[in-house]
Amino acid sequence: MEKKSESSTDEIKTGSTRREFLEQVSVITAGTALSVSLKAAKLPTNRKFYQEEGTVEVSFFINDKKMTLELDPRTSLLDALREKLHLTGTKKGCDRGQCGACTVLVDGKRINSCLKLAGMCEGAHITTIEGLAKGDQLHPLQTAFLKHDAFQCGYCTPGQICSAVGLIKEGHAKTDDEIRELMSGNICRCGAYQNILEAIKEVQKS
C-alpha cells in the first residue's frame, strides 16, 4: 500500500529545549550526516506532556485512522500498537530489533517497531498487518503467503509480510539471492523461508 509521508513539520510551532538538545547531539555524533540528522530531529513540540502522570500525548495515523494516545514516553511503537491499541498482529519476538517479527511500515518504510519509541512517531503514517487487506480483499502478498504455505506457526508472518511489502516498494531485490539477503532481518524459526521467497517472487512479478 502506498503511503504518503505527511509532513509533520507543519505542526511545529515553537522550538524546544528537547529539540535543541537533539540537534546538538546530532551535531556532535553525526558528523557529515549533519543535515540529515537535523531534519530527523525536528520533532513536533506542540504535544502535551503531562508532568503529573509522566506521560506524553502522541497522534499518528494507524492504517489511515488518526489516533491520539497518552503514553508513557518509554513506550515503544510496538507496545503502543499491541498493548494500547490492541493491534496484536504486530508481534513481539525479541524487543531488540533482532528478529523482525514487529516489522511495520512507517511512512512507507519497513522498520522494527520495537526499536522506535511511539512518541517519536508524531504525525507518522503507520501501516500494520491489519491495514494491508481492503476489507475482505487480501493484499496480494497475503494471498501469496497462503498459497505458498509461507508460514507455519504464523508468529513471524505479519512481520515477514510487512517487510516484503517494504522490500518490493524499495525495488532493490532482483534475484532470489537479493530477496533472501534483504529479507534476512525477518527470522522464521519454523523455516518457511523457501515458501516466503516463492510468495514474494510471485507478487513481484505481477
Binding site: 531488540r96 497462503l146 504464523g154 529479507m183 527470522i187 524459526r189 523455516g191
Partner: protein, 768 residues
Amino acid sequence: MSMIVGQPLDRKDGKLKVTGAAPYAGEFVVPGLVYGVTIQSTITKGHINNIDTTVAQKLKGVLGVMTYKNAMSLHQPTGSDPSSGKFAEKDLLPLQSERIFYNGQHIAVVIAETFEIAEYAASLIKVDYNEEKSVSDIHDPEAKPYQPQQGLGGTSPQAKRGNTDEVLNNAAVKLEQTYTTPVYHHNPMEPHTTTAFWEDDELTVYDSTQGVFGVQNLLSNVLGIPKNKVRVISPFIGGGFGSKGFTWANAFLAPMAAKFINRPVKITLARSFQMFTCAGRRTTTIQKINLGADSNGKISAGKHETTSETSFVDEFVENAGVATKILYDIPNLDIVQNLVRLNRGTPCPTRAPGEAPGTYAFEVAMDELAEKLNIDPLQLRLINYAEKNPVDGKEFSGKNLKECYEKGAAAIGWKDRSDKPSANKQGRYLTGYGMATATYPANRSKASVRLKLYQEGNAVAACCTQDIGTGTYTVMAQLMADALGLPFEKVEFKLGDSTFPQGPNSGGSQTMATTGPAVRAAALEAKSKAIQLAIADKKSPLYNVEESAIGVENGRLYVINNNAKGETYTQLLSRNKMPLIDVNATTDVTLKDGEKSAAANANAKKEPDNPFAKQDEKMDREKYVFHSFGAHFVKVKVDSLTGMVKVEKIASAMDIGKILNEKTAKSQIMGAAIFGIGMALMEGSVYDPNTGRIVTKDLADYHVPVHADMPEFDVQFTDKPDYNISLVGARGAGEIGITGITAAIANAVYNATGKRVRELPITPDKLI
C-alpha cells in the same frame, strides 16, 4: 473414496495468520490486564540473603512485588503420565525458597499497571546473595557423571545386545571417534507467555503451550484447585519445538501474581536472557562412537556412549544413542548414557530429543567408516540395511528406506560426488556432497473428539490438542470432510481449549497419528447415525436401503448404485426436526483385546468398502515396530578463503506413511532441515565457565538460520500408507526432518574440504 485427504490444500487457519488476526497467548483482550515482569538471579548457586523491594514498591503504578517471602505456597505436582503435564523443574517450584540453583532462575515478579513501569521497577530491586561454588560446565572436574536409569517416556537410556567389546576388539576395521554438540536453544518466535485471571475461585489461563491438557492438570495440582476450576486456552502457539512441551514457571507465576494483586496478569519472558535461561534448551552432548566392521563393510559391533547434562532440580536425559539401536543391522551394540548435573536450568526435549544430536554423531561416524573401508557412504548404509528391527527382530509396520535413498541420491546428483575429499574446486570455492539416514519413532496415544454435524450441512469437531504450526487445523478438517462426505469449506476443527475432550500433547510427532484416527472415527460415527436415521425414516428416499449401499458426497446421502435416489443431510435432519447429530469418539491404542475387536467390528460396519476398516484401532506392538525412516542428501559450497559454508541444496526423501497434505508435510520437513542447518553451521550457546552465566543471551549472539542461509530444497515422500499404525495411514512428520540432516551437512563439508570437524557448529574458524 478419499478425495480431500491427500490434497495439498491451503491452511484453514491461514487467513487468520496472514491478517494478524490469530490470537496468541498474550493477545487476548482481558479487561483490567496488568503486566508482570520477572527478575532472575545473577548468581549461579547459593541463596538470597535479602531482596530489597522498597524503592520499586513505592513507584507509581507498581501493584506488587512477589518474592519467596510473600508468594503463595505451591503443591508438588503429582503423576508421571506425560499427557498429564510435566513441570520442567520438579524441585524448583517458583518463589518457594531463597535457594538459587542456576543463573537466571526466577526470583521475583514485579506487577505494574504498564509494562514500562514493571520493567523499570524490576531494575530497582536490590538483591543480596550468599554465593556458593557452582558446577557450571560439563568439563568441570566437580561434575560427577552418573548413569540414569530412566529416559523420556520411561524408556531405559541404557541398552545392550550381543557381545560388543569382544567383537569390537576382533574387528578387521575399527573406528573410534568423539563428537560434541553444544547447547542449543529452541527460540520459538513467540516467547513463552501466560495471561491469567481469576473469577472467584475459577482460573482462566491463556498459555503458549504444546500441551493444553497438561497445563490444566499441572495448574490444578500445583495451585491446589480442582481441575474443573481451571481452564487453559491456547488456539495459536508461536512455535514450540519442544520448549513449550514441558511447562515452565511462567505458567504458574501468572496465576500466582493474578491472585496476589487480584487483577488479570500477563507475563511474557523476554527474549534477551530469559528465553535462554527459563525456557529449556537442548543439552551439550559428548558422544563417543566405536564401530567395528569386516573389510566388506558389514558392521559387526558398535558402541555409542553419550554424556549429557541435566540440572540439580530435575532430570532430563538427552538419549543420543536412542536411534542407533534401530538404524542398522548391527548385531553387537552397547548404548551407554551418562548424565552430569550442572547449575543450569533443566534441559528439555528439543525437536527430536536424542535422535537429532545422536544421528549427527553416528551418521558422521558412518561416513568416516565408509572412507576407511573405501566404500561409498550410501553403499555402506545399504550393506548394513535393517530389514527387520535389529532390537527384537520384529517387522517394521512400514519401511521403505531404500526408496528414500534412491530418490534422494537422484535428486542431489550423488553420482557427481567424488570419494576423494576436496577434489571439487572451482576458483576459491569447494563443492562437496554428503548424506545421512533420518529416523524417528512413530508414536500414537489416546484422543477423544466431539463432533457435531449440523442440519445446515456443516460440521464442527473439537479436541484438546494443539496446532504449533504443524497443520492440525487443516489436516483434521480434511479427514472430517472425507469421512462425512462434506466439502472442505463446510467442516471446522477446533483445538487448544481444556474444555474440549482430551487430546495428546504436541510432542513426539504424535498429533496426526493420535488425533487423526479419533477425528475420523467421530466423523464416521456421525455419518453412520445420519444414515441410520434415513434408513428408518419412511419419508426418506433411503428408507430401508442397506447401510452398506449408501454413500455420502458433498453433503448428500445417496444409493451407491442409483445416484438419483438420495437426499442431503439438511433435508434429512430438518424433516426429522433435528438441529444436529452430536457424537463422541475415543481412539485408544492402549485398549484391551476384547475392546479392540469391538472397535474393529464397529469400523468394518461404518466402512464396508474399506478393506482396512476391518482392522481394529490398535498398534500391534507384538508384531510390529513403528518407526519412520528417510534420507537427507546435501550439497555444500565452501569458500576456501573465508571458511564460510553455504548449503547449496538439500534433497530429502521421507517415508512417513500416507501424506495427508503435501503442502503442510513438506513445510514440516523443510523447516526441520533448516533447524539442522542451524545446528550444523551456526547455532550454539556459550556459557561463561567462571560464572555459569549465559553469554549468547539473545538473537544477536545466538545465530539462527535466516533467509540468506537458504539452500534449494527438494523434498519427496514415499507416500505409502501405514495402516498398521492407524486407519488414517499417516505417521508423524514434525521431527524426522531434523534427524540425520546435521550429519549430512557435516559429511558434505568434509567431502568439500577434507576437514572433519567433530565439534558442532562448523563455524568458519574451524575450516581455515
